[in-house]
């Protein structure tokens, strides 16, 4: 229980209660994490404002758009001020404005010393946001470390510019390239669909 009090989680299904309004859900989440009624209500109000979810106070969560639900799930995960946050695909299906809001919040938390674990298939996001990266392939952890450490590890195996899809010398490998080299995946660029212009 003590560990649960220190962490915030946004799982794949977002763990929302669809038949509550956004405000009711955040209030509920706050109290479940041990906040008193006044604090829960105060933080609910602030979070709704921050996440720009105050326009339709009577709307049920089930009627929210995907992006709004994501923001709400994130708000519920941070209402108790967790030290560690676990996020599953936090930016999937989220529009640019909502993504900006979420990133701002996450960066604020990181600046205050929180640790955030996030999973994503969009490697550009991981590259921009994360200080440390772990690569899981077929259910197994195959690499982990800072981006520089991963890059160095991959380059040590195959020198850059060796003609196997690596960037030319002088350019840094992107996380996508590191990933492909680590898991041994290959992009097919030689085939074309005959009827597409």
């Amino acid at each position: 229980m003590e560990v649960k009090r220190q962490i915030g989680v946004v799982p794949e299904g977002m763990a929302l209660f669809g038949r509550l309004t956004g405000s009711e859900f955040l209030n509920f989440a706050g109290r479940m994490y041990g906040l008193d009624r006044e604090t829960a209500a105060q933080r609910t109000s602030e979070l709704l404002d921050f996440m720009q979810l105050t326009d339709q106070p009577n709307k049920l969560v089930t009627d929210y758009s995907h992006g709004m639900q994501k923001k709400l799930a994130m708000a519920a995960a941070v209402i108790h001020g967790p030290k560690v946050l676990f996020l599953d695909e936090p930016f999937e299906g989220v529009d640019a404005i909502a993504a900006g809001t979420l990133k701002a919040m996450l960066q604020g938390m990181i600046a205050r010393g929180a640790t955030i674990f996030l999973t994503s298939h969009v490697l550009e996001i991981v590259e921009r946001l994360c200080s440390h990266v772990a690569i899981i392939h077929q259910g197994r952890l195959v690499a982990q470390g800072s981006l520089e450490e991963l890059r160095a590890g991959v380059e040590a195996q195959t020198p850059a510019g060796s003609g196997d899809g690596s960037p030319p010398s002088g350019e840094k490998m992107t996380l996508e390239q590191i990933f492909l080299r680590t898991v041994g995946g290959e992009r097919r660029t030689d085939q074309e669909l005959s009827w597409l212009g």
Partner: protein
Amino acid sequence: MSEADSTVHTRGQLAAIAWLRWRLFVNKLRTTRGKLELVSRIVASSVFAIIGLGGAFGMGAAAFFFISEGKPEMLALLLWPVFFFWQVVPIMATAFTNNPDSSDLLRFPLTYRSYFLVRLAYGAFDPVTAAGSLWSFGILVGVGFAKPALLPWALLVMLVFAVFNLLFMQMIFAWVERWLARRRTRELMGILFILLMLSFQMIGPLTRHFEKRARPEVQRYFEIVAPVQGNLPPGLAAHAIAQAVVPRFPAAFGSLALLCAFVLVIGYCLHMRLRAQYRGENLSEVAAASALPKDRSLRLGWNLPGFASPVAAVFEKEVRYLLRSGPMLLTVVMPIFVLVIFRFGAMNPGRHSGAFLARTPDMAFPAAVGYTLLMLTNLAYNNFGGDAGGIQFFYASPVSFREIVLAKNLTHAGVLALETVVVWIAVVYLYGRPALDVTIASLAGLLFAAPVNFSAGNLLSICSPKKIDYSSFGRQRASQTTVLISLGVQIFVVGVGVGAFWMARYYGNFWLATLLLLALAGISLSAYRMILNRMDRLAQARRDTLVAELCRA
């Protein structure tokens, strides 16, 4: 694209749609469920075939009789049932299942004409349409046999009547589809549907009630209704044929023209709906809501004296869920409704259930309380069903399942308490004030039965959960296992209650029942407490099952 190319293109699309329907049907047969569906469809089709052919014969004979006897205006008595059957049965059968089949086709470059045709074709192959058409055909044959010269005119009228029915059904479906597209309207329709179903229960008692009224009053209602029906499509079709029998052709033409006007109006309404669909209307819930002024006031959560804050939070959440779920609320209303039905039924000595309560009104309150508890199983035996993905939140939060389940049980106990009060008032009004000793014995029975039900419900909620989709209606709300076990528990609980009350009546002392039930309540409360304390362990052990069942799409 030239017109010839366009026709070929359209024909190709229609052939592709027909092929799609066929493949969907064949692929469905790969599963056992699909095969069972086919069997049930064959049975249903056979039933419809019997209804259609039998009805056609009956309608034909009646039409023949009316025309031969010189009462052609009585054809309205045949055409109205045809109309109602054609329109009402499909709504009852399919109104609460989403059928996005035809609108799914809109992603393809289908012309509006093709889309309209596809919609009509889907409707035309409906078994109800087939039965309705057969009945209309039966009437036509009956009229033709009675007066062969009238056949061409009757054919024309019946054809227009059939087209009207086909378009009208499609129009209703198109609008129903639109309402079902939004959660709120879908739920509202679900409630209306239950009310409609419940209102059928009132037909018997009301008929008996009105039978006692003076006949002239009923006659007066009939005199008001008769001219009105004559201006509506079934009445107009009957009138058009009846006037041709006389013969009074201007009047017959007038009625047919009005019937055609109805066809045009209905066709236009259908066209409007389908055109909106074709143009890609957006019916998502997000677009439907309008922005309201921001509410800056702080809303504090509820407080439940004597209980921890998380228990109060879950209690509040449960109450809000209950208040927002029409079907669940109706479940709560049902005991009152049943009391009213029994009271009306009691007017008729032939009705056993009503007659029992009429003979022994002192048993009305215990019976109603028992029924209330029975209805509560819908809520208590699938505690987490409505939470859906929220179950993950419970697992992630620093709150024990013991507290969560306790809060849920408190909500159900609150509902039970409230309903017991309401039921008591209803019994006082309908059957007379129950004696104090009977009331106390009934409450003691509740004190025994509620913990038994909550204990069994808590165990089954964890071990055999089933996701509840509040926005759909008519689906099973608990797993098959839960239904069976809950039935066993109810038989046990009701058996004990009936035994206690029977003994009390036998000895003429209801305090005996109170004592016995209070002793049993002590045992059931202890068992409840024991099971409640094991909730965390059970929930952790069943975590995968719960999450997999409740979080599935």
